[in-house]
Amino acid sequence: MNSINLTTKLGALTLKNPVVTASGTFGFGLEYAQLFDIGMLGGVVVKGLTLNPRPGNPPPRIVETPAGLLNAIGLENPGLESFLRDTLPCLKEYNVPVIVNISGNTIDEYAAMAAGLNESGVQAVEVNISCPNVKQGGMVFGTSPEQAAQVTAAVRANTALPLIVKLSPNVTDIVTIAQGVAAAGADAISLINTLLGMAIDVQRKRPALGNVFGGLSGPAVKPVALRMVWQVSQAVELPIIGMGGIASSQDALEFILAGASAVSVGTGNFINPKLTVEIIEGLAEYCREEGINDISDLIGAAWRRQ
């Protein structure tokens, strides 16, 4: 039997399979390399970086909710320079495409980071305009169509790398924002970042998170994410990386059938550290059973079938 073609394209970037890791849930890739060969993944999206190091928010930073996780990490990271100098060389040894997730307080910071990545040998940039856990920048850019487009244009002007823009679900009209970043020069769109939420500690009678609000992720958010992938993939020509609650290959298939060209696994890594590789196997198995030779035939199949 012919082997199944799992390759997928995100603009100029070709991935050997459609499974990547969600930023902030896979560190800088090296930790999980202790458990399996991360070279098997379609790509590794690293923890969100900023120009300067950030200490992050005070604890408690995480609270579990039914089928979900609220986090308020606050973009703790060592800064771009330290990543390029100390971490990237080790990560490159694993022969896996590296996608760098970037955040900034200002549009200039996004532009400077994009410029800083040009000669680094990473495969793509993912622009995070959707972090709900920082006071300046972050989600503010992702909830205004004008600012989302401005950030995208500024990054585009400073990089020739494939440019992925990661959108926030905390908006009324996701399609308008997606159209704006597409027009401003994005090559692909990531959907979705976490949903703004909170929890109360009834024993201590105060908010459970140190930062009061946090971002909700995990299986609880999957229906919202899937709906947004469905809407955006029909309205915008760009490839989409779908994420939000993926915990099995079935979940990943739902995103692909809804219009995603690739999927990203986040919170699921914490529950099953080998989930990404199990999903790759599960996708191949599904294609085999369904007699499909090329996984790209499945992208958006659910809306073509309506």
């Binding site: 999980y32 604890p59 039914p66 089928a67 996780l69 986090n71 703790e76 550290p273």
Partner: protein
């Protein structure tokens, strides 16, 4: 480190709130060190979603067995206590940096508050093997929340305190410190933060080095989510350390206690 489904050999209630889970996990039993922990998936479903961290209480490298001592606190620990022998449990580990044991023998004080005594048991065994001289202080709010007091007394001079006086001396564990006064080369402790903070003040005044095992809510347990942050002193500034990989055992001097 590995992530595997291992067989549960026994689940035994050892007191009203504590259960001892014995697992067949040969590789874990060969590689684990005192103070390290595992992340256990308590159910296959999505609620509870996250794994739960538990210290490795005891192990037998020859038999290939590992024991966890579980206090029933909420739904995850209750589900663990309800497991039956023969069922399989998804275990990730060993994780974290455990207690440091100096090669030159000396005199050690071990202080355990409530379930905090769980990781001190394997530490006590190893120190005893290296012929250290041990004193153990165990405290809890009540008798039913004391951990394995009898076993510790086989290894060491063991002093007990309970808040309600239902066992040992009535009062907080810190009240016992003068009773245990001696010259210690190392103090080890695990328990509630206020207890550890009080102990840090006492050991500092006495000039004893103190290693504490900290407890923070965890998601990944592997250093990737940055969820388990604990403020620590670094040179002259304060940083967040990851309890799961830089700890759970820290030098008390590094820890910022007044959060």
């Amino acid at each position: 480190m590995e992530c595997n489904k291992v067989e549960i050999l026994a689940v035994k209630a050892v007191s009203q709130h504590y259960y001892l889970l014995t697992l067949m996990a040969p590789r874990l039993a060969r590689s684990v060190r005192p103070g390290q922990f595992v992340q256990v998936r308590v159910a296959d479903g999505l609620d509870p979603l996250l794994r739960r961290p538990f210290s490795v209480h005891d192990w037998d490298a020859k038999q290939g067995t590992v024991a966890l001592l579980v206090q029933v606190r909420g739904k995850g620990s209750k589900m663990l206590a309800d497991k039956r022998p023969g069922e399989r449990l998804d275990v990730l580990g060993p994780l974290g940096r455990g207690f440091e044991i100096s090669e030159t023998k000396g005199r050690a004080l071990l202080v355990g508050g409530g379930i905090g005594a769980a990781p001190l048991w394997s530490l006590a065994r190893q120190l005893k093997d290296k012929t250290w001289d041990l004193t153990v202080l165990l405290g809890a709010s009540a008798d039913s929340l004391l951990v394995k007091a009898v076993d510790f007394s086989h290894l060491a001079n063991t002093i007990i305190a309970t808040d309600d006086g239902s066992a040992g001396i009535k009062g907080k564990i810190t009240k016992l410190l003068p009773l245990a006064a001696s010259d210690y080369n190392q103090v080890y402790a695990c328990g509630p933060k206020p207890m550890l903070a009080a102990l840090a003040v006492w050991t500092k005044a006495a000039g004893f080095p103190l290693q504490v095992s900290l407890d923070e809510v965890m998601a990944c347990g592997m250093g990737v989510c940055l969820g388990c942050a604990q403020p620590v002193k670094h040179n002259k500034s304060v940083n967040y350390a990851k309890v799961c990989t830089q700890g759970p055992v820290f030098d008390a001097d590094e820890v910022v206690w007044n959060e």
